[in-house]
Subunit: 205 residues, 2 copies
DNA sequence: CAAAGTTAATCAATCGATTGATTAACTTCC
DNA sequence: GGAAGTTAATCAATCGATTGATTAACTTTG
Protein backbone atom coordinates (compact mmCIF):
# COMPACT_ATOMS: atom_id res chain seq x y z
CA UNK A 1 0.00 0.00 0.00
CA UNK A 2 1.53 3.29 -1.02
CA UNK A 3 1.48 6.08 1.45
CA UNK A 4 0.06 9.27 -0.01
CA UNK A 5 -1.15 12.28 1.88
CA UNK A 6 -3.95 14.38 0.53
CA UNK A 7 -1.64 17.21 -0.32
CA UNK A 8 0.34 15.27 -2.89
CA UNK A 9 -2.86 13.68 -4.16
CA UNK A 10 -4.16 17.13 -4.94
CA UNK A 11 -0.93 18.20 -6.62
CA UNK A 12 -0.86 15.13 -8.80
CA UNK A 13 -4.47 15.36 -9.85
CA UNK A 14 -4.19 19.09 -10.52
CA UNK A 15 -1.10 18.65 -12.65
CA UNK A 16 -2.89 16.23 -14.94
CA UNK A 17 -6.04 18.30 -15.14
CA UNK A 18 -4.24 21.61 -15.71
CA UNK A 19 -2.21 20.02 -18.48
CA UNK A 20 -5.26 18.56 -20.19
CA UNK A 21 -7.82 21.31 -19.72
CA UNK A 22 -5.79 24.41 -18.98
CA UNK A 23 -5.86 26.48 -15.81
CA UNK A 24 -9.18 28.17 -16.46
CA UNK A 25 -10.68 25.04 -17.88
CA UNK A 26 -10.03 23.11 -14.70
CA UNK A 27 -12.41 23.65 -11.79
CA UNK A 28 -11.53 23.16 -8.15
CA UNK A 29 -14.35 20.65 -7.99
CA UNK A 30 -12.69 18.52 -10.63
CA UNK A 31 -9.40 18.64 -8.77
CA UNK A 32 -11.17 17.62 -5.57
CA UNK A 33 -13.03 14.79 -7.21
CA UNK A 34 -10.03 13.44 -9.11
CA UNK A 35 -7.77 13.56 -6.08
CA UNK A 36 -10.34 12.15 -3.69
CA UNK A 37 -9.96 15.21 -1.49
CA UNK A 38 -12.60 17.65 -0.37
CA UNK A 39 -12.86 21.00 -2.12
CA UNK A 40 -11.95 22.88 1.00
CA UNK A 41 -8.66 21.01 1.26
CA UNK A 42 -7.39 22.85 -1.78
CA UNK A 43 -7.71 26.18 -0.05
CA UNK A 44 -6.60 24.66 3.24
CA UNK A 45 -3.26 23.53 1.80
CA UNK A 46 -2.62 25.96 -1.05
CA UNK A 47 -4.74 29.02 -0.32
CA UNK A 48 -6.24 29.10 -3.80
CA UNK A 49 -6.35 27.39 -7.17
CA UNK A 50 -3.47 29.54 -8.31
CA UNK A 51 -1.53 28.43 -5.24
CA UNK A 52 -1.81 24.84 -6.42
CA UNK A 53 -0.44 25.77 -9.82
CA UNK A 54 2.48 27.71 -8.37
CA UNK A 55 3.50 24.80 -6.16
CA UNK A 56 3.36 22.36 -9.07
CA UNK A 57 5.60 24.64 -11.09
CA UNK A 58 8.01 25.14 -8.22
CA UNK A 59 8.42 21.41 -7.73
CA UNK A 60 9.11 20.74 -11.38
CA UNK A 61 11.41 23.67 -12.02
CA UNK A 62 13.75 22.93 -9.14
CA UNK A 63 16.40 20.41 -9.98
CA UNK A 64 16.69 21.15 -13.66
CA UNK A 65 18.66 24.31 -13.14
CA UNK A 66 21.25 22.52 -11.02
CA UNK A 67 21.30 19.75 -13.61
CA UNK A 68 22.22 22.28 -16.28
CA UNK A 69 24.77 24.05 -14.09
CA UNK A 70 26.47 20.76 -13.40
CA UNK A 71 27.05 20.19 -17.10
CA UNK A 72 28.29 23.74 -17.48
CA UNK A 73 31.03 23.20 -14.92
CA UNK A 74 32.30 19.91 -16.35
CA UNK A 75 35.75 19.88 -17.85
CA UNK A 76 34.82 19.00 -21.40
CA UNK A 77 34.78 20.98 -24.67
CA UNK A 78 31.90 23.40 -25.24
CA UNK A 79 30.61 21.27 -28.06
CA UNK A 80 30.38 18.19 -25.83
CA UNK A 81 28.62 20.27 -23.17
CA UNK A 82 26.08 21.49 -25.64
CA UNK A 83 25.37 18.02 -26.96
CA UNK A 84 24.87 16.88 -23.38
CA UNK A 85 22.60 19.80 -22.54
CA UNK A 86 20.45 19.10 -25.56
CA UNK A 87 20.12 15.44 -24.67
CA UNK A 88 19.10 16.17 -21.10
CA UNK A 89 16.79 18.99 -22.13
CA UNK A 90 14.94 16.76 -24.55
CA UNK A 91 14.78 13.91 -22.07
CA UNK A 92 13.50 16.18 -19.32
CA UNK A 93 10.68 17.56 -21.45
CA UNK A 94 9.80 14.17 -22.88
CA UNK A 95 9.46 12.81 -19.36
CA UNK A 96 6.43 15.04 -18.89
CA UNK A 97 5.14 16.51 -22.10
CA UNK A 98 1.77 17.57 -20.74
CA UNK A 99 3.49 19.63 -18.08
CA UNK A 100 5.55 21.35 -20.71
CA UNK A 101 2.41 22.18 -22.67
CA UNK A 102 0.86 23.68 -19.57
CA UNK A 103 3.94 25.79 -18.96
CA UNK A 104 3.91 27.23 -22.43
CA UNK A 105 0.22 27.88 -22.30
CA UNK A 106 0.47 29.93 -19.13
CA UNK A 107 3.54 31.71 -20.42
CA UNK A 108 1.50 33.10 -23.27
CA UNK A 109 -0.99 34.69 -20.89
CA UNK A 110 -0.26 37.83 -18.93
CA UNK A 111 -3.29 37.90 -16.71
CA UNK A 112 -1.84 35.88 -13.85
CA UNK A 113 1.35 37.78 -13.05
CA UNK A 114 2.70 35.38 -10.45
CA UNK A 115 2.39 32.34 -12.66
CA UNK A 116 3.78 34.26 -15.60
CA UNK A 117 6.90 35.55 -13.89
CA UNK A 118 7.63 32.22 -12.26
CA UNK A 119 7.74 30.48 -15.62
CA UNK A 120 9.50 33.33 -17.35
CA UNK A 121 12.27 33.43 -14.75
CA UNK A 122 12.77 29.69 -14.89
CA UNK A 123 13.10 29.74 -18.65
CA UNK A 124 15.39 32.75 -18.62
CA UNK A 125 17.58 30.97 -16.10
CA UNK A 126 17.88 27.91 -18.30
CA UNK A 127 18.56 30.06 -21.31
CA UNK A 128 21.41 31.86 -19.62
CA UNK A 129 23.21 28.67 -18.71
CA UNK A 130 23.11 27.46 -22.30
CA UNK A 131 24.09 30.93 -23.43
CA UNK A 132 27.24 30.96 -21.35
CA UNK A 133 28.28 27.60 -22.75
CA UNK A 134 27.70 28.81 -26.28
CA UNK A 135 29.55 32.09 -25.77
CA UNK A 136 32.49 30.31 -24.24
CA UNK A 137 32.65 28.06 -27.30
CA UNK A 138 32.69 31.07 -29.59
CA UNK A 139 35.37 32.80 -27.56
CA UNK A 140 37.54 29.73 -27.68
CA UNK A 141 37.11 29.56 -31.41
CA UNK A 142 35.29 26.24 -31.51
CA UNK A 143 31.99 27.73 -32.68
CA UNK A 144 31.10 30.03 -35.51
CA UNK A 145 30.18 33.57 -34.54
CA UNK A 146 26.44 32.90 -34.68
CA UNK A 147 23.52 34.82 -33.19
CA UNK A 148 23.67 33.28 -29.73
CA UNK A 149 20.17 34.13 -28.54
CA UNK A 150 18.60 33.00 -31.77
CA UNK A 151 20.50 29.72 -31.79
CA UNK A 152 19.28 28.94 -28.29
CA UNK A 153 15.74 29.77 -29.27
CA UNK A 154 16.13 27.40 -32.18
CA UNK A 155 17.11 24.56 -29.87
CA UNK A 156 14.35 25.33 -27.38
CA UNK A 157 11.84 26.00 -30.13
CA UNK A 158 12.51 22.74 -31.91
CA UNK A 159 12.07 20.74 -28.72
CA UNK A 160 8.89 22.61 -27.86
CA UNK A 161 7.51 22.20 -31.34
CA UNK A 162 8.04 18.45 -31.30
CA UNK A 163 6.56 18.16 -27.83
CA UNK A 164 3.59 20.38 -28.54
CA UNK A 165 2.84 19.08 -32.03
CA UNK A 166 -0.42 17.22 -32.11
CA UNK A 167 -0.29 13.48 -31.74
CA UNK A 168 0.32 11.73 -35.04
CA UNK A 169 1.40 14.98 -36.66
CA UNK A 170 4.94 13.74 -37.10
CA UNK A 171 5.16 10.72 -39.39
CA UNK A 172 2.12 9.18 -37.75
CA UNK A 173 3.96 8.72 -34.50
CA UNK A 174 1.65 8.27 -31.54
CA UNK A 175 3.32 10.11 -28.69
CA UNK A 176 1.22 8.20 -26.20
CA UNK A 177 2.86 4.96 -27.22
CA UNK A 178 5.92 4.72 -24.99
CA UNK A 179 7.98 2.80 -27.52
CA UNK A 180 7.28 5.23 -30.35
CA UNK A 181 7.87 8.12 -28.00
CA UNK A 182 11.33 6.78 -27.24
CA UNK A 183 12.12 6.50 -30.95
CA UNK A 184 10.96 10.09 -31.42
CA UNK A 185 13.08 11.25 -28.50
CA UNK A 186 16.22 9.73 -29.99
CA UNK A 187 15.36 11.10 -33.39
CA UNK A 188 14.96 14.59 -31.97
CA UNK A 189 18.27 14.39 -30.14
CA UNK A 190 20.02 13.19 -33.29
CA UNK A 191 18.51 16.04 -35.28
CA UNK A 192 19.53 18.67 -32.75
CA UNK A 193 23.05 17.31 -32.51
CA UNK A 194 23.22 17.44 -36.28
CA UNK A 195 22.06 21.04 -36.04
CA UNK A 196 24.74 21.91 -33.50
CA UNK A 197 27.46 20.41 -35.63
CA UNK A 198 26.39 21.88 -38.95
CA UNK A 199 25.27 25.26 -37.67
CA UNK A 200 27.68 26.01 -34.86
CA UNK A 201 30.96 24.28 -35.49
CA UNK A 202 33.27 25.54 -38.19
CA UNK A 203 33.75 23.34 -41.20
CA UNK A 204 36.94 21.37 -40.84
CA UNK A 205 39.27 22.68 -43.45
CA UNK B 1 -16.34 58.09 -40.85
CA UNK B 2 -15.35 54.46 -41.12
CA UNK B 3 -17.99 51.95 -41.86
CA UNK B 4 -17.99 49.00 -39.52
CA UNK B 5 -20.81 46.58 -38.95
CA UNK B 6 -21.29 45.00 -35.58
CA UNK B 7 -20.20 41.62 -36.83
CA UNK B 8 -16.67 42.69 -37.61
CA UNK B 9 -16.59 44.79 -34.47
CA UNK B 10 -17.23 41.62 -32.47
CA UNK B 11 -14.61 39.65 -34.38
CA UNK B 12 -11.99 42.32 -33.87
CA UNK B 13 -12.68 42.76 -30.17
CA UNK B 14 -12.80 39.02 -29.60
CA UNK B 15 -9.50 38.45 -31.37
CA UNK B 16 -7.74 40.89 -29.08
CA UNK B 17 -9.37 39.56 -25.94
CA UNK B 18 -8.84 35.89 -26.78
CA UNK B 19 -5.19 36.58 -27.46
CA UNK B 20 -4.70 38.46 -24.22
CA UNK B 21 -6.83 36.46 -21.83
CA UNK B 22 -7.28 33.10 -23.52
CA UNK B 23 -10.53 31.53 -24.64
CA UNK B 24 -11.80 30.57 -21.20
CA UNK B 25 -10.47 33.75 -19.70
CA UNK B 26 -12.56 35.89 -22.02
CA UNK B 27 -16.24 36.28 -21.24
CA UNK B 28 -18.94 37.03 -23.74
CA UNK B 29 -19.75 40.07 -21.67
CA UNK B 30 -16.25 41.43 -22.20
CA UNK B 31 -16.50 40.84 -25.92
CA UNK B 32 -19.83 42.61 -26.01
CA UNK B 33 -18.58 45.55 -23.97
CA UNK B 34 -15.33 45.94 -25.89
CA UNK B 35 -17.02 45.72 -29.28
CA UNK B 36 -19.90 47.96 -28.34
CA UNK B 37 -22.32 45.23 -29.33
CA UNK B 38 -24.99 43.64 -27.27
CA UNK B 39 -24.31 40.23 -25.74
CA UNK B 40 -27.06 38.63 -27.75
CA UNK B 41 -25.40 39.67 -30.98
CA UNK B 42 -22.62 37.20 -30.37
CA UNK B 43 -25.00 34.28 -30.46
CA UNK B 44 -27.06 35.93 -33.16
CA UNK B 45 -24.12 36.06 -35.57
CA UNK B 46 -21.87 33.21 -34.46
CA UNK B 47 -24.09 30.83 -32.52
CA UNK B 48 -21.73 30.65 -29.57
CA UNK B 49 -18.49 31.91 -28.11
CA UNK B 50 -16.69 29.03 -29.82
CA UNK B 51 -18.31 30.08 -33.10
CA UNK B 52 -16.61 33.45 -32.79
CA UNK B 53 -13.26 31.81 -32.30
CA UNK B 54 -13.70 29.47 -35.25
CA UNK B 55 -14.54 32.36 -37.56
CA UNK B 56 -11.52 34.35 -36.42
CA UNK B 57 -9.32 31.35 -37.14
CA UNK B 58 -10.91 30.75 -40.52
CA UNK B 59 -10.33 34.34 -41.58
CA UNK B 60 -6.68 34.27 -40.60
CA UNK B 61 -5.81 30.85 -41.96
CA UNK B 62 -7.21 31.50 -45.41
CA UNK B 63 -4.81 33.24 -47.69
CA UNK B 64 -1.63 31.96 -46.12
CA UNK B 65 -1.94 28.55 -47.68
CA UNK B 66 -2.30 30.00 -51.16
CA UNK B 67 0.58 32.31 -50.38
CA UNK B 68 2.77 29.28 -49.63
CA UNK B 69 1.57 27.32 -52.64
CA UNK B 70 2.38 30.24 -54.87
CA UNK B 71 6.00 30.16 -53.77
CA UNK B 72 6.09 26.40 -54.22
CA UNK B 73 5.13 26.70 -57.87
CA UNK B 74 7.62 29.41 -58.76
CA UNK B 75 10.42 28.50 -61.13
CA UNK B 76 13.35 29.08 -58.79
CA UNK B 77 15.79 26.75 -56.98
CA UNK B 78 14.52 24.95 -53.86
CA UNK B 79 16.89 26.92 -51.71
CA UNK B 80 15.49 30.22 -52.93
CA UNK B 81 11.98 28.94 -52.35
CA UNK B 82 12.79 27.98 -48.80
CA UNK B 83 14.38 31.33 -48.04
CA UNK B 84 11.30 33.01 -49.42
CA UNK B 85 8.96 30.79 -47.40
CA UNK B 86 10.84 31.53 -44.21
CA UNK B 87 10.71 35.25 -44.83
CA UNK B 88 6.98 35.24 -45.48
CA UNK B 89 6.29 32.88 -42.58
CA UNK B 90 8.10 35.13 -40.15
CA UNK B 91 6.48 38.24 -41.53
CA UNK B 92 3.04 36.67 -41.37
CA UNK B 93 3.41 35.69 -37.73
CA UNK B 94 5.02 38.96 -36.74
CA UNK B 95 2.09 40.84 -38.24
CA UNK B 96 -0.10 39.40 -35.50
CA UNK B 97 1.86 37.82 -32.71
CA UNK B 98 -1.00 37.73 -30.23
CA UNK B 99 -3.05 35.74 -32.69
CA UNK B 100 -0.24 33.24 -33.07
CA UNK B 101 -0.04 32.85 -29.32
CA UNK B 102 -3.75 32.17 -29.17
CA UNK B 103 -3.46 29.54 -31.87
CA UNK B 104 -0.76 27.66 -30.05
CA UNK B 105 -2.60 27.86 -26.78
CA UNK B 106 -5.70 26.28 -28.19
CA UNK B 107 -3.66 23.69 -30.05
CA UNK B 108 -2.33 22.43 -26.74
CA UNK B 109 -5.85 21.78 -25.44
CA UNK B 110 -7.98 18.88 -26.57
CA UNK B 111 -11.23 19.84 -24.92
CA UNK B 112 -12.61 21.83 -27.83
CA UNK B 113 -12.37 19.38 -30.70
CA UNK B 114 -13.52 21.73 -33.44
CA UNK B 115 -11.05 24.43 -32.55
CA UNK B 116 -8.31 21.87 -32.16
CA UNK B 117 -8.74 20.17 -35.49
CA UNK B 118 -9.14 23.43 -37.36
CA UNK B 119 -5.76 24.64 -36.13
CA UNK B 120 -4.11 21.25 -36.50
CA UNK B 121 -5.22 20.89 -40.11
CA UNK B 122 -4.10 24.37 -41.00
CA UNK B 123 -0.65 23.73 -39.56
CA UNK B 124 -0.37 20.34 -41.19
CA UNK B 125 -1.25 21.90 -44.50
CA UNK B 126 1.47 24.51 -44.16
CA UNK B 127 3.94 21.89 -43.08
CA UNK B 128 3.30 19.76 -46.12
CA UNK B 129 3.94 22.58 -48.56
CA UNK B 130 7.32 23.30 -46.97
CA UNK B 131 7.99 19.59 -46.85
CA UNK B 132 7.50 19.14 -50.57
CA UNK B 133 9.90 21.98 -51.28
CA UNK B 134 12.50 20.47 -49.00
CA UNK B 135 12.14 16.99 -50.42
CA UNK B 136 12.43 18.27 -53.96
CA UNK B 137 15.65 20.00 -52.96
CA UNK B 138 17.04 16.79 -51.54
CA UNK B 139 16.04 14.79 -54.62
CA UNK B 140 17.73 17.29 -56.88
CA UNK B 141 20.85 17.07 -54.77
CA UNK B 142 20.86 20.66 -53.57
CA UNK B 143 20.17 19.78 -49.94
CA UNK B 144 21.79 17.35 -47.55
CA UNK B 145 19.77 14.26 -46.72
CA UNK B 146 18.45 15.71 -43.45
CA UNK B 147 15.49 14.65 -41.33
CA UNK B 148 12.84 16.58 -43.26
CA UNK B 149 10.12 16.65 -40.63
CA UNK B 150 12.51 17.66 -37.89
CA UNK B 151 14.04 20.41 -40.00
CA UNK B 152 10.63 21.89 -40.64
CA UNK B 153 9.80 21.72 -36.97
CA UNK B 154 13.04 23.56 -36.29
CA UNK B 155 12.03 26.39 -38.59
CA UNK B 156 8.50 26.57 -37.21
CA UNK B 157 9.69 26.09 -33.64
CA UNK B 158 12.25 28.88 -33.85
CA UNK B 159 9.70 31.32 -35.19
CA UNK B 160 7.17 30.33 -32.55
CA UNK B 161 9.72 30.54 -29.80
CA UNK B 162 10.73 34.06 -30.77
CA UNK B 163 7.11 35.14 -31.09
CA UNK B 164 6.00 33.53 -27.88
CA UNK B 165 9.02 34.47 -25.79
CA UNK B 166 8.13 36.98 -23.12
CA UNK B 167 8.66 40.60 -23.90
CA UNK B 168 12.18 41.78 -23.13
CA UNK B 169 13.37 38.18 -22.89
CA UNK B 170 15.52 38.54 -25.96
CA UNK B 171 18.26 41.10 -25.53
CA UNK B 172 15.86 43.49 -23.81
CA UNK B 173 13.87 43.94 -26.97
CA UNK B 174 10.40 45.29 -26.41
CA UNK B 175 8.22 43.53 -28.94
CA UNK B 176 5.52 46.14 -28.50
CA UNK B 177 7.82 48.80 -29.89
CA UNK B 178 7.23 48.66 -33.64
CA UNK B 179 10.74 49.73 -34.54
CA UNK B 180 12.41 47.15 -32.31
CA UNK B 181 9.98 44.54 -33.52
CA UNK B 182 11.08 45.20 -37.08
CA UNK B 183 14.72 44.80 -36.10
CA UNK B 184 13.88 41.51 -34.41
CA UNK B 185 11.97 40.32 -37.44
CA UNK B 186 14.93 40.91 -39.72
CA UNK B 187 17.27 39.31 -37.21
CA UNK B 188 15.11 36.21 -37.05
CA UNK B 189 14.94 35.95 -40.83
CA UNK B 190 18.71 36.31 -41.06
CA UNK B 191 19.21 33.61 -38.45
CA UNK B 192 16.86 31.19 -40.16
CA UNK B 193 18.42 31.79 -43.55
CA UNK B 194 21.80 31.13 -41.96
CA UNK B 195 20.32 27.92 -40.58
CA UNK B 196 19.05 26.85 -43.97
CA UNK B 197 22.40 27.44 -45.60
CA UNK B 198 24.55 25.80 -42.93
CA UNK B 199 22.22 22.94 -42.08
CA UNK B 200 20.61 22.08 -45.39
CA UNK B 201 22.92 22.98 -48.19
CA UNK B 202 26.00 20.89 -48.83
CA UNK B 203 29.32 22.53 -48.13
CA UNK B 204 30.83 23.79 -51.36
CA UNK B 205 33.88 21.69 -51.93
C1' DC C 1 -8.23 18.54 25.51
C1' DA C 2 -6.21 21.14 21.89
C1' DA C 3 -4.35 21.30 17.39
C1' DA C 4 -4.59 19.54 12.77
C1' DG C 5 -7.18 17.46 9.35
C1' DT C 6 -11.51 16.74 6.99
C1' DT C 7 -16.25 17.18 5.79
C1' DA C 8 -20.89 18.81 3.74
C1' DA C 9 -23.25 22.84 3.03
C1' DT C 10 -23.39 27.27 1.47
C1' DC C 11 -21.83 31.87 -0.16
C1' DA C 12 -21.84 35.72 -3.63
C1' DA C 13 -20.29 36.26 -8.18
C1' DT C 14 -20.05 35.23 -12.76
C1' DC C 15 -20.62 32.32 -16.60
C1' DG C 16 -22.73 31.37 -21.61
C1' DA C 17 -26.96 31.42 -23.50
C1' DT C 18 -31.79 32.68 -24.45
C1' DT C 19 -35.88 35.17 -24.19
C1' DG C 20 -39.54 38.48 -26.00
C1' DA C 21 -39.84 43.12 -27.37
C1' DT C 22 -38.31 46.95 -30.22
C1' DT C 23 -36.13 49.39 -33.99
C1' DA C 24 -34.98 50.41 -38.70
C1' DA C 25 -34.85 49.37 -43.41
C1' DC C 26 -36.63 47.26 -47.24
C1' DT C 27 -40.82 44.94 -50.19
C1' DT C 28 -45.12 44.25 -51.63
C1' DC C 29 -49.53 45.49 -52.89
C1' DC C 30 -53.56 48.45 -54.07
C1' DG D 1 -47.27 57.08 -53.36
C1' DG D 2 -48.44 55.33 -49.15
C1' DA D 3 -50.29 51.84 -46.21
C1' DA D 4 -49.34 47.01 -44.97
C1' DG D 5 -46.27 43.38 -44.54
C1' DT D 6 -41.61 41.45 -43.87
C1' DT D 7 -37.02 41.09 -42.69
C1' DA D 8 -32.58 41.49 -40.11
C1' DA D 9 -30.58 43.85 -36.36
C1' DT D 10 -30.52 45.20 -31.71
C1' DC D 11 -31.78 45.55 -27.02
C1' DA D 12 -32.54 44.90 -21.73
C1' DA D 13 -33.59 41.36 -18.77
C1' DT D 14 -33.06 37.06 -17.11
C1' DC D 15 -32.30 32.01 -17.23
C1' DG D 16 -30.10 27.86 -14.86
C1' DA D 17 -25.59 26.30 -14.10
C1' DT D 18 -21.11 26.70 -12.42
C1' DT D 19 -17.40 29.12 -10.56
C1' DG D 20 -13.72 29.80 -6.47
C1' DA D 21 -14.05 30.41 -1.89
C1' DT D 22 -15.68 30.09 2.89
C1' DT D 23 -18.15 28.61 6.83
C1' DA D 24 -19.11 25.80 10.81
C1' DA D 25 -19.34 21.37 12.45
C1' DC D 26 -17.18 16.96 12.90
C1' DT D 27 -13.09 13.55 13.32
C1' DT D 28 -8.58 12.26 14.02
C1' DT D 29 -4.22 12.60 16.13
C1' DG D 30 -0.69 13.49 19.55
Amino acid sequence: MEKTDKKTDILRAAETLFAELGFEGTSTRQIAKESGANMAMINYYFGSKEGVFLEIMEDRICGFKSQLNQIKDEQIPAKEKLLKVVEQYVTRIFSNITFHKMMHRELSLTQRPEMFSQIRDAMASNRMVIESILEKGIEEGHFRNVDVRMSILTIMGTISMVAISPTKAIDNIDINDEKQKEVLRLRLIAHLQDFIITHLTKPTK
